[in-house]
């Protein structure tokens, strides 16, 4: 059935069509040309009414409403359609843009369900469903997991739009395949994820494994306190690192500086006192986090499982150090494993992970910031560049894309972009995703919760999808303040009753 006709100036990548009804953004259409059938995606849709063009006030609007109903020619439905390629090639996953633009006057029609299934729901290994096409609900939207591990993934959306649901869904799908996922869980969102093969780890830091700068960050020595940092560098000797009594040895070294009669050391005595206090304070405050006696932190991560690294107890700086440490170790291990396999070395296998790993960094704007360097950013960037070769995939999740380092973001081969209102964020996305058209980005403001634009290598084509809700995800939803207050009130009442009951009246003084 004819849906409309190509009009105006037509280009190989975009055409305008006048249609018999309003088309939805995200709807797929088919254009039959002499070269073959072409698939297009509606990127912008508009309706205009001749009766309402010069309306200046309420009364005229009201009169025009009646008039518009009478006139079947009153409405003009216009659709801007991005050309995705020849249908024949898209079925094989190749996007071939026609050399000759569709001639104005060419008819457009709806693609068949089979056409869409072959493209968006390929029955191939590695493709898993994450929901359905937003405008064609009967079509499963499948993504290629191989591509996200080899070419990375960015998940960008405002808060509450379904980022952690999508992370959970991808994790669940990888878990079904017995793959290894590591999530740096900054808000304790995933520890209660109720899927099989889950391994929750409270991220701790072994101070012995850090360098002096990292230790300074972990102990929360101020950024500008150069002398204090110098004291720590001097005190954090190899001997301290290897000592059984880590903290007391470290304190001894600082003590030595404090008591030293050396002229040079005397000058930094005041700072050394301060460092002493900081170390003492840190041992008390970060008792659960800084553990010099813990084994290799990487050994807690289990292959073939979903590993949730709970970093919610860590301060921002500590989390940064921890993330950097894990990323560094994981890259090293995967490198070793890949090289060993490649060379078929007979050396002792001293690596932990034999299969690819997918690492997800939540709140990426904190760890991979745009405006300053962090150690986590350094290692994330390195993985973004090199991880492909060693089977280490990176998932970057953020609600503030504008604050995420563009170098890292632009290395992401695939993206799921959900509702984004801020123009700065949209601009950053446009810069990071060359293939995403401005029209599609402009639609990001109108998406609902769970709706996402998928672009990049993990799909055959840019697509608008509704992501399936993960029932196994317990946390992460908005909290109801009203319910919580009601419960708190009830508890207060219980508390009053129970304490009143406990007080013996005769013991009360008048």
């Amino acid at each position: 059935m004819s849906l409309g006709f190509v009009i105006g100036e037509s280009k190989p990548t975009i055409v305008t069509a006048i249609t018999s009804r309003a088309l939805s953004v995200g709807e797929y259409i088919k254009i039959s040309t002499d070269e073959g059938e072409i698939l297009g995606l509606v990127e912008r849709s508009s309706v205009s009414s001749a009766a309402f063009t010069d309306v200046r006030n309420f009364d005229e609007a009201s009169e025009s409403t009646e008039i518009a109903e009478l006139n079947k020619r009153d409405k003009t439905f216009t659709a801007h359609i991005g050309i995705l390629g020849f249908l024949k090639n898209l079925r094989k996953g190749q996007s071939i843009i026609p050399a000759i633009p569709p001639i104005p006057g060419t008819e457009i029609t709806l693609p068949s369900e089979q056409d869409l299934k072959e493209i968006f729901s390929p029955e191939k290994e590695g493709w898993v469903s994450i929901g359905n096409l937003l405008r064609n609900k009967s079509i499963d939207a499948k993504v290629n997991l191989d591509k996200i591990v080899s070419r990375h993934l960015g998940i960008l959306a405002m808060t509450g739009m379904g980022k952690s649901n999508l992370v959970s869904l991808i994790t669940k799908q990888i878990s079904k395949l017995k793959g290894t996922v590591i999530i740096f869980d900054y808000h304790n969102d995933y520890t209660s994820l109720n899927i099989p093969r889950i391994n929750v780890i409270d991220a701790k830091i072994n101070p012995r494994l850090l360098d002096a700068d990292q230790l300074s960050e972990v102990l929360e020595i101020r950024d500008g306190a150069n002398v204090q940092q110098r004291v720590l560098r001097m005190a954090f000797t190899k001997h301290v690192k290897e000592s059984k009594e880590f903290w007391s040895k470290l304190e001894n070294e600082v003590e030595f500086i404090v008591n030293s009669e050396d002229k040079k050391l005397k000058e930094i005595r005041t700072s050394a006192y301060r460092v002493q206090d900081i170390i003492e304070d840190a041992q008390r405050r970060f008792e659960d986090i800084l553990d010099p006696d813990m084994g290799d932190p990487i050994s807690f991560i289990k292959e073939g499982r979903t590993n949730i690294l709970n970093i919610s107890e860590l301060s921002e700086k500590q989390a940064n150090v921890a993330v950097a440490f894990y990323l560094q170790q994981l890259l090293k291990d995967r490198k070793d494993a890949s090289i060993a396999r490649h060379r078929k070395t007979k050396r002792e296998r001293n690596f932990r992970f034999n299969s690819p790993i997918f690492v997800i960094i939540e709140e990426a704007h904190v760890f991979i910031p745009k405006d300053h360097d962090t150690s986590a950013k350094y290692w994330a960037a390195k993985i973004a560049r090199e991880g492909r070769k060693f089977g280490l995939g990176l998932g970057v999740v953020s609600q503030r894309p504008r604050s995420v380092d563009l170098n890292v973001l632009s290395q992401m081969g695939s993206f799921a972009i959900m509702k984004i209102i801020q123009e700065d964020d949209q601009r950053q996305i446009a810069s990071a995703t060359e293939s995403t058209s401005r029209e599609l980005i402009a639609q990001l403001t109108s998406l609902n919760v769970g709706d996402a634009v998928l672009v990049g290598q993990w799909t055959n084509l840019p697509s608008l999808v509704h992501v399936e809700e993960v029932k196994e995800k317990v946390m992460g939803a908005d909290q109801s303040a009203v319910n919580a207050w009601a419960k708190a009130e009830k508890m207060n009442e219980v508390a009053v009753e129970s304490t009143q009951g406990l007080v013996q009246k005769d013991l009360l003084l008048d």
């Binding site: 001749a50 009766a51 010069d54 309306v55 200046r56 006030n57 009364d59 005229e60 009169e63 025009s64 009646e66 008039i67 009478l70 006139n71 079947k72 020619r73 009153d74």
Partner: protein, 263 residues
């Protein structure tokens, strides 16, 4: 200069306009109307002119009843007359198929000034069913208050003294001959909308007929103006762009000597 807006003479004219005005709020009455309009355009092209004229008759529901086009190369002196002829042709083809035919513009101007030679055919078509009305958005005629020394057009004074729906007493002009009597009235279809001028042929029109016509017009009007006429206007515009297309269609754009090469 301000005597147009102030002074005893001005007040006298306003009072007369007030006296002439009959308040009437129309109610919607079902009717099939068609609006007719024409347009023309021309472009100079290597010493000659390419001209195009069009006339259209369209119903309020968007159905186009008549769509006429003419174009040619040559002197464009008489294209307005060609357009007027086509308008009359469109009217002739429409009068039998609708209840009311709305012509854009002024009958007075059609009969007496612009295209006096077409007068006979206009009269013939208007008399056929007596269902043709001329409607003008703007009017410059200074007939009704000229004996009071009016400086502005009649419509100016009615606009000044009224704001509500209604119409002015019918003004009959007989000086063009017995078969070319024009009855006119200024009408406002709804509150605070611009006044339009209705013109009928003959002198047999009364206030009840005006009321009935207002009811019929009101049904399909936007902002006090009949939608069929707006549709007709929109459908018969010939833009410069369209003329450029015609030049291209006629294969003239690549003629040697085209001035574009100088650009």
């Amino acid at each position: 200069m301000l005597s147009i807006l102030k002074g005893p003479k001005f007040e006298q004219i306003l009072q007369k306009a007030r006296d002439n005005w009959i308040e009437f709020t129309p109610t919607k009455e079902e009717v099939v109307t068609a609006g007719i309009d024409s347009s023309f355009n021309n472009t100079k092209f290597q010493g000659i002119e390419l001209w195009a004229t069009t006339a259209v008759s369209v119903k309020s529901d968007g159905e186009i009843l008549v769509d006429l086009h003419k174009s040619g190369l040559g002197s464009a002196d008489d294209i307005s007359s060609i357009a007027s002829k086509m308008e009359i042709e469109a009217c002739e083809k429409t009068v039998d198929s609708v209840d009311m035919v709305l012509m854009d513009g002024s009958l007075h101007s059609q009969l007496m000034t612009r295209q006096a030679n077409l007068g006979a055919s206009i009269v013939r078509i208007m008399k056929k069913k007596d269902n043709v009305i001329f409607i003008a958005k703007t009017s410059n005629t200074k007939k009704q208050f000229e004996n009071l020394g009016s400086l502005a057009g009649d419509i100016f004074y009615y606009n000044h003294v009224t704001n509500s729906p209604g119409f002015s007493k019918i003004f009959v002009e007989k000086k063009y001959g017995a078969d070319k009597i024009i009855s006119s009235t200024f009408v406002r279809l709804s509150d605070s909308t611009p006044i339009i001028k209705l013109e009928f042929l003959g002198d047999q029109h009364d206030e009840n007929e005006v009321k009935s016509i207002m009811n019929k017009l009101y049904k399909t009007s936007v902002g006090g103006y009949p939608y069929a006429l707006k549709l007709a206007h929109n459908n018969c515009k010939i833009s410069d762009k369209e003329l450029a297309k015609m030049v291209s269609l006629l294969g003239l754009s690549n003629e040697i000597g085209s001035r574009e090469v100088l650009g």
